[in-house]
Amino acid sequence: MAELKKWNEIPIGGIITEPGTARKYRTGDWRVKRPIYDRSKCIDCMMCWFYCPDQAIMQENSVMKGINYFYCKGCGICANVCPKSAIEMRPETEFAHKEE
């Protein structure tokens, strides 16, 4: 998690003074379960990409390229819609001491 500022170090009223800051918002901090992707089972059907509510599935020319954990909130929709069970949801605690 980024260093949090004190009350007298931020603009008043919750005003955000630069555009595009949502890009910096690490929604991945919310995750309780982590989707783990198995390339060997994947058929690049892109169902996961269609359904991910956070645009956290990375793709290039319709080829599945893995998951962006900066934004992935761990909702599990991708694992649910995958016809090949190529995505498995695993508890975050398993990764607690490993760097992403």
Binding site: K5, W7, I12, G13, G14, T17, P19
Partner: protein, 391 residues
């Protein structure tokens, strides 16, 4: 001293006249009794081309305050006025105005907050907003309405404050009663009020900003702490604005007005127009040799605790008059005074009187009765008594 002219006008006219001289960029308002004449007078100024203000007639007070928030965030000087249920309908946005730190000034014509329906004066409407983050000023008469409305703009817009201000006047008693009011020439008032220096205006497209984003547990608390600090700054900022106003008008304002307090042993504390009646009774009792005094509260939020402690410590008895009730708890002004006196060296005897709900008359006899209770030491600290109620 500036040359002034005196006019016989109502409190509503005094508010509208101050608004004319302030000439805000935007006024959005919905008429509600007894605030209606303020909006009517101001709408006439707009229609006659006396002011260049953009007047936005809306379909409800919720919309009025929403339009004002939008205008103020855009960088405009924006005002509205309201009363009672209209204020209650605004409540959501009233809170947001303060939380977004928008320097809006709003005359509030105090009226009972229903039900049953009642259009007459009490303070239940504004008391419901006491924790909304607005500065709350109370006027005794139309002169104070005019003066405090001008000063409110300076206070709200001060860079160390940036908080909205309610200027309260008693419904009908002040808003519809005619009194002589000393008015400043337009250019003097305009110069005193000055230009708004917008902070983070949305219309500054070179520097885009976001107002009202999601603010969760990681920063919300810090933003509330900023509001607490801004309220504290009012104690530093207001005296200098009042001093400047005094130099122009000869009329001195402060957080509170002590009346015949030097040697007073029995002191009454109140908000709004009733202070006039209390002064009359204080004068009478003084003639009878009684050591009585009045502590009029001009500023209810932030609550000038230090000032009140200094002025009330060591008195024999303090009687607090509230024009609103707090169901299941002590009346709002009484509670605040009592809590302030917890820390003083020498605590006076304390008494709470609720009066005037829904416009019930308060008269010198009732005020005298409350003073006599104090002088006979018949007050009980946790007993709420009533003036003018059939018991």
């Amino acid at each position: 001293m500036t040359k002034v002219h005196k006019e016989a006008i109502t409190g509503a006219q005094a508010a509208a006249y101050a608004m004319k001289q302030i000439e805000p960029d935007v006024v959005a308002a919905y008429p509600i009794t007894p605030q209606t004449p303020i909006v009517e007078y101001f709408a006439k100024y707009v229609a006659d081309g006396v002011v260049k203000t953009e007047m936005v007639p809306v379909e409800s007070e919720h919309s009025a305050m929403s339009a004002v928030v939008g205008a103020a965030a855009a960088g405009a000087r924006a005002m509205t006025a309201t009363s009672a249920n209209g204020l209650a309908l605004m409540h959501e946005i009233v809170y947001i105005t303060a939380s977004m730190r928008l320097p809006v000034v709003m005359p509030v014509v105090n009226r009972a907050l229903s039900g049953p329906i009642n259009i007459h004066c009490d303070h239940s409407d504004t008391m419901a907003e006491r924790d909304s983050g607005w500065i709350q000023l109370f006027c005794e008469d139309a002169q104070e309405v005019y003066d405090l409305t001008l000063m409110a703009v300076r206070l709200a817009e001060h860079e160390q404050v940036r908080l909205p201000v309610m200027v309260n006047q008693d419904g009908f008693i002040i808003s519809h009663g005619v009194e002589p009011v000393e008015l400043l020439p337009d250019e003097v008032a305009k110069k005193f009020v000055g230009e708004l220096k917008p902070l983070y205006p949305l219309l500054d497209t070179e520097h885009p900003v976001t107002y009202g984003p999601l603010d969760l547990y990681d920063y919300y608390f810090e933003h509330k702490r900023q509001q607490i600090e801004a309220m504290k700054n009012v104690f530093k900022v207001f005296p200098s604005i009042a001093e400047e106003f005094y130099n122009i008008t000869g009329r001195r304002y402060n957080f509170v007005e002590p009346y015949k307090m030097e040697d007073a042993q029995y002191v009454m504390v109140a908000l709004g127009s009733t202070n006039g009646t209390i002064k009359y009774v204080v004068d009478q009792l003084r003639e009878e040799g009684k050591k009585v005094g009045l502590l009029k509260i001009w500023m209810f939020r932030p609550f000038p605790k230090a000032e009140i402690q200094r002025l009330l410590t060591g008195r024999k008895a303090v009687v607090v008059l509230d024009r609103s009730a707090s169901f299941g708890a002590e009346a709002p002004l009484y509670e605040a005074i009592k809590s302030s006196l917890y820390e003083v060296a020498s605590k006076p005897l304390l008494g709470s009187f609720v009066y005037g709900l829904g416009g019930r008359d308060i008269n010198p006899e009732l005020v005298r009765f409350a003073f006599e209770k104090a002088m006979k030491h018949e007050l009980v600290v946790d007993q709420e008594l009533y003036l003018g109620l059939r018991e």
